[in-house]
């Protein structure tokens, strides 16, 4: 029964939502929005679980002086300070009735002065990681890697002024061999074809997974016990 009831709910809701996508009349046409609202409400309550898990794990690490426990202190302080400032709208010029991120509020200060720079720092790491990953991927050890390297070089040069300058001398009849044109051709044809093939596969995968779940063939997300 513990497994059958969720399966029945999944089947009925799945069927009703599919119907709602194609039917224009009420209540079918508004079902998706309604269920999205329910999901948002459940998510809000689930956040209490998440916050509770965060507190529990880090308090345990601090109390048992586990390895690197001082990082847990930083996490706990940051979490609790942000929570209190956000909940009570500390420093908000309009008080409790003001916008959560109103100019001049402490939360806005933390957002602009701490959160955004930290996020930007993490994001900027990508530049270095792209360089190291590209170096490994583009080493021309195999036929495929050589093709990848050639295509990447053409795109890289074709998208910069240097590429246009390098092949500007070509006669009109060979204009298609100019690096910007070659780069455009690679992006418009082989790249689009590959992307679409992947997208078709993904769409089929989504349909198959949805069907397996709706029909109760796939039950792993309920746990594997019978």
């Amino acid at each position: 029964m513990r497994r059958r009831i969720p399966l029945i709910i999944t089947f009925v809701i799945g069927l009703v939502l599919i119907t709602g996508y194609f039917v224009t009349r009420a209540p079918f046409n508004t079902l998706y929005e309604s269920f999205s609202d329910y999901f948002a409400i459940i998510t809000v309550f689930a956040f209490i679980l998440g916050g509770g898990s965060l507190l529990k794990i880090h308090l345990k690490r601090v109390s048992s002086r586990a390895t690197d426990w001082h990082y847990s202190v930083v996490t706990l302080v940051a979490f609790l300070v942000t929570l209190v400032i956000g909940l009570f709208k500390v420093g908000n010029p309009a008080g409790m009735g003001g916008e959560i991120l109103a100019a001049g509020s402490w939360l806005r200060f933390m957002f602009d002065g701490v959160y955004n720079p930290l996020s930007a720092t993490m994001f900027s790491l990508l530049a270095f990681f792209v360089a190291s990953a590209s170096y490994r991927a583009f080493r021309a050890r195999t036929k495929e890697a050589t093709i990848l390297l050639s295509a990447a070089l053409i795109i890289l040069l074709g998208r910069t002024p240097v590429g246009a300058w390098m092949t500007a001398w070509m006669p009109e009849s060979l204009a298609f061999l100019e690096l910007p044109n070659l780069a455009n051709w690679i992006m418009a044809w082989p790249n689009t074809a590959g992307q679409r093939a992947i997208m078709i596969g993904i769409a089929l995968g989504v349909i198959a997974t949805s069907l397996r779940i709706i029909l109760g063939i796939e039950r792993n997300y309920l746990g594997r016990g019978e």
Binding site: F22, F123, G205, V206, T209, N220
Partner: protein, 338 residues
């Protein structure tokens, strides 16, 4: 003929149309019943073809029924193409599920990334290091996350058997709840409920880069022997995968977000590309009905290839010959994918 003074429509015509609709509705219901019977009966190709054809008819491929649907305003005609294609693909998948259930042997090609799962877990056990599982950034309303949870269930069963430690940092509270339930049940079914540690599946942060920073920290401090990145990923994909690569972990990634695939391919040992992520759970389960649905996916790809080739051939023929009949066929194929 008596005409209505305001609408100028002949009196009695709406009733006639209503009667016609009722007849079509009854025909549709009986067709659907036959389709269901055909699908559930012992499988033969003829019955399967009939079932798909019947479902096709039911869902408004019949022009008269389509017109009736439009007039009543019940069906969103802008989505008729999606409905038709959905029915064709659903029919193909259901057909193979039925065939597999009946015991028909099915060939499924090997997926290297999934063949290596057990090896990765074994390596982690030998090294005495944990296994990191990252289920992506999306919440439980995203099908990639559901596919990831299904895969996590299989992985947890293998890990429970090897007595390794599984670490799952998550970005969404709801995903944490589902992951905990899934892993706990897997440990239970593997006969190792005592090995399940609830705190190893924990919430980190909803913020994208805070989550990435925390997972990077876990990778650097704990140095897991195997890292799994399976689910929906965004800009943090390369940050995570490169950090995992820097500690020499065996890495298996999979996502249905094409922009992130090159990053995973460059930084991970194995990558499940798009559909393979959705196929993973069925592939690992080896359960006939699940494998049947995989074969159905392949049949769907076959149908897509046929439509693409037919569309290309018809478009070329139309340009060369200028024939009106070729143009009509070409329009039908184009309509399906508009």
């Amino acid at each position: 003929m008596h005409l209505c003074p305001t609408t100028r429509i002949p009196r009695g015509l709406p009733q006639t149309i209503g009667l016609a609709r009722a007849v079509f509705a009854i025909a549709a219901i009986s067709t659907s019943a036959r389709a269901v019977i055909a699908l559930t009966a012992p499988s033969t190709w003829a019955r399967a073809v009939f079932a798909i054809a019947a479902l096709f008819t039911l869902l408004q491929v019949d022009p008269v029924l389509a017109q009736a649907g439009t007039e009543t305003g019940w069906i969103n005609t802008d989505r008729t193409q999606a409905l038709v294609l959905g029915i064709i693909l659903t029919g193909a998948i259901l057909l193979y599920v039925v065939l597999a259930s009946a015991g028909r042997p099915l060939f499924i090609r090997k997926i290297a990334g999934l063949e290596t799962v057990e090896e990765a877990v074994g390596r982690a056990t030998e090294m005495g290091k944990p296994i990191l599982y990252v289920p992506g950034l999306n919440d439980m309303d995203e099908v990639q996350t559901i596919a990831s949870m299904n895969l996590l269930g299989h992985l947890a069963t293998i890990i429970a058997g090897y007595d390794s430690r599984l670490h799952v940092p998550v970005r969404k509270s709801l995903v944490m709840s589902v992951a905990r339930e899934t892993v706990q049940q897997s440990y239970l079914s593997a006969g190792r409920p005592d090995a399940y540690q609830e705190d190893d599946i924990h919430y980190v942060s909803d913020a994208q880069f805070a989550y990435a920073a925390a997972v990077d920290g876990i990778i650097v401090r704990e140095k897991p022997a195997a890292c799994f990145y399976l689910g929906g990923f965004y800009a943090e994909s390369l940050i995570l995968a490169e950090t995992g690569n820097s500690i020499g972990a065996i890495q298996i990634a999979g996502t249905a977000r094409p922009p992130q695939l090159p990053f995973f391919v460059a930084a991970c040992d194995y990558t499940l590309i798009g559909e393979e992520l959705f196929a993973a759970s069925a592939y690992l389960s080896k359960e006939p009905r699940m494998l049947g649905s995989l074969k159905g996916q392949d049949a769907g790809k076959g149908i897509a290839i046929v439509f693409i080739l037919a569309g290309s051939a018809l478009a070329t023929l139309e340009t060369v010959t200028g024939s009106e009949s070729v143009r009509a066929f070409s329009e039908i194929v184009l309509w399906l994918f508009r």
